[in-house]
């Protein structure tokens, strides 16, 4: 009963005039609508409450990320990565620096790797908190969101302690961190491990067996593993279908192979499973952070970057007082360094899935070509096809559980 789609302009799809006999209504969800969680549009044709067909339009906040990156030295690309998935910017950040380190063959000290693990896992928790909290809001329950929001704020305080910024953290450097975690930061990380479990437990008690929540989310937008793989899904939504593909476990980076953690998987691939997988991942992340803190204790204190003066920005006080440091600083900032002609692909497990960086370098000052495999972009393309036949209110929950971040979607 679906009608053929025609478009006036291919970027602004509209449907043919509806036949009044058929009672089909064309509805725009977005570009700016509370339910879209970002700036992107879905034009759906509905029959009563049921979606008959839909078209997704994205690109509203495309910022020419890859083009800008071709004109900037490596350090100046860091702030761009922060703005991709702004819910978990340190993961983007670390992933980018790891890619550059792979290109430059830089060995990273163990302590730095553990510090990175801590920051990335905190970011994952912050991202999952938002996603699951908002999923609750979309089912009509606001309190869960409020319970966990304070904890996300606390994670931001930890970032602030580490680097001075909260949202767009700019936390990494080639070879490590800009500065060591101070005692307050470590104390806050430990405090987080104490205060977050009861909050998460309370949050789960509110939703896990809540009749309304379970009925609204179970068997909604179920996806089979085959479909999910065919659409190149990754991250919690792929694992909810039962495929245990996690980059951290599959191709470990940053010493993840030393950590003891599980990769939670679901069975139905529906909205409820995605919610549960994210919850379980938060518990696992806390486990990882705990282990990382233990491991850091055994490492020599005060190491927060690799010894690579050619690539690591010297501390400011030295730049002002030491000629060598000033020269290094200048060369690094201007991109005057020796980087091999090579191409690298490096993937990290972002909060939404496999975040990949494909870097082609010609030895110049900026990347010759930089491409990001953005999980939101790839995960989202299944939304329109899977929505047909779904209730409008279920489609909203589906969108919410895909955790599409507009910055990452549009690059």
């Amino acid at each position: 009963m679906s009608k053929p789609i025609t478009r006036i302009s291919t970027n602004s799809p509209v449907f043919e005039d509806n036949d009044p006999q058929e009672d089909l209504i064309t509805l725009n969800i977005g570009p700016t609508h509370p339910a879209t969680h970002g700036v992107f549009q879905n034009v759906v044709q509905i029959d009563g409450e049921r979606i008959v067909s839909g078209v997704s339009t994205i690109g509203y906040i495309h910022r020419a990320f890859e083009k800008i990156a071709e004109h900037r030295p490596f350090y100046q690309i860091t702030p761009l990565t922060d703005r991709l998935n702004y819910c978990s910017s340190p993961i983007n950040n670390m992933g980018w620096h790891m890619t550059v380190e792979k290109l430059l063959d830089i060995e990273i000290p163990k302590r730095v790797q553990y510090m990175r693990v801590i920051v990335m896992e905190l970011a994952r928790i912050a991202d999952h908190i938002i996603c699951n909290g908002i999923l609750g809001v979309d089912t009509g329950a606001f309190s869960g969101f409020l319970y966990v929001m304070q904890e996300r704020e606390f994670i931001y305080e930890i970032y602030e302690e580490i680097c001075g910024a909260r949202l767009t953290t700019n936390i990494g450097r080639i070879g490590g961190f800009e500065r060591d975690f101070n005692d307050v930061a470590f104390a806050k990380i430990r405090e987080f491990l104490v205060r977050f479990p009861p909050v998460l437990r309370e949050f789960q008690e509110l939703f896990d067996r809540n009749r309304i929540f379970v009925e609204r989310t179970s068997n909604v937008a179920s996806v089979t593993p085959e479909e999910a793989l065919s659409y190149s899904w990754s991250g919690p939504i792929l694992r909810a279908t039962g495929v245990d593909y996690d980059v951290r476990a599959h191709s470990p980076y940053c010493s993840y192979e030393e950590f003891d953690f599980e990769v939670p998987v679901g069975t139905n691939g529906d909205v409820y499973d995605r919610y549960m997988v994210r919850n379980e991942e938060m518990w696992q992340s806390m486990r990882i952070i705990e282990q990382a803190l233990e491991k850091i204790e055994k490492e020599p204190k005060g190491v927060f970057h690799a010894d690579v003066p050619d690539f690591y920005l010297p501390p400011k006080e030295q730049v002002y007082t030491n000629m060598e440091a000033l020269i290094y600083h200048f060369k690094i900032v201007m991109g005057e360094w020796d980087a091999p002609k090579d191409e690298v692909y490096h993937a990290v497990e972002g909060a939404n899935g496999e975040l990949g960086f494909y870097l082609v370098h010609d030895g110049g000052r900026a990347p010759y070509r930089l491409h990001f495999r953005r999980p939101s972009f790839i995960n989202y393309q299944m939304f329109a096809p899977m929505s047909s036949g779904m209730l409008l209110s279920d489609a909203i929950l589906n969108m919410s559980s895909l955790n599409v971040i507009a910055g990452e979607l549009d690059a």
Binding site: G59, H71, Y231, Y345, E354, G356, Y358, A411
Partner: protein, 167 residues
């Protein structure tokens, strides 16, 4: 399960497509093969469907513009064997006069948007794609912005021109 290594993947590919694999490299340990556009779908199909390889996961499709080369556009596929945990990169070089390449949507649904993005930014024409139109840029943009002939308009960057550094 036995681990699969790059050599085994390469042997398998060469046994079937000996003369159609134009170049083999291993930058940073990632097996990279260059092939022609006529063979790319067959190679991807073998990689995906062969039981001993099982490259079932299409990670990414993108392109690179090398204006100094005769065949200036490289379409790059990253494919991942989830079972054996091996990745492979496949490159296909295209000439500016003939930017047609068969679409990988026959193998993976996920190729749809990746190819649209590549079309949007480089103008690569994926033949057989069900819905090849711009995705991130507006329709009437008129150019393919990731090509090297379109510089970024950023007057602040003139201080970083190569001639200031004796290059």
């Amino acid at each position: 399960m036995d681990k699969l290594n790059n050599q085994q993947v390469l042997d398998k590919l060469q046994s079937q497509f000996a003369d159609r694999i134009l170049h083999v490299a291993e930058p940073k340990g990632l097996l990279t093969i260059v092939t022609g556009k006529d063979s790319v779908i067959e190679i991807l199909r073998l990689l995906k469907e062969d039981d001993t390889l099982q490259f079932i996961y299409l990670t990414d499709i993108t392109a690179v513009h090398y204006p100094e080369l005769e065949n200036a556009f490289a379409v790059v596929y990253h494919v991942h064997s989830l079972v054996f945990n091996v990745r492979i990169r496949i490159k296909v070089f295209l000439n500016i006069n003939d930017l047609n390449i068969p679409s990988a949507t026959v193998l993976w649904n996920g190729a749809n948007w990746m190819e649209r993005e590549t079309f949007d930014f480089f103008g690569i024409n994926f033949e057989g794609h069900p819905d090849l139109r711009r995705i991130l840029n507006m329709d009437d943009l008129g150019v393919f912005p990731m090509r090297k002939e379109y510089p970024l308009e950023d007057p602040n960057r003139v201080d970083k021109k190569d001639f200031y550094f004796g290059r």
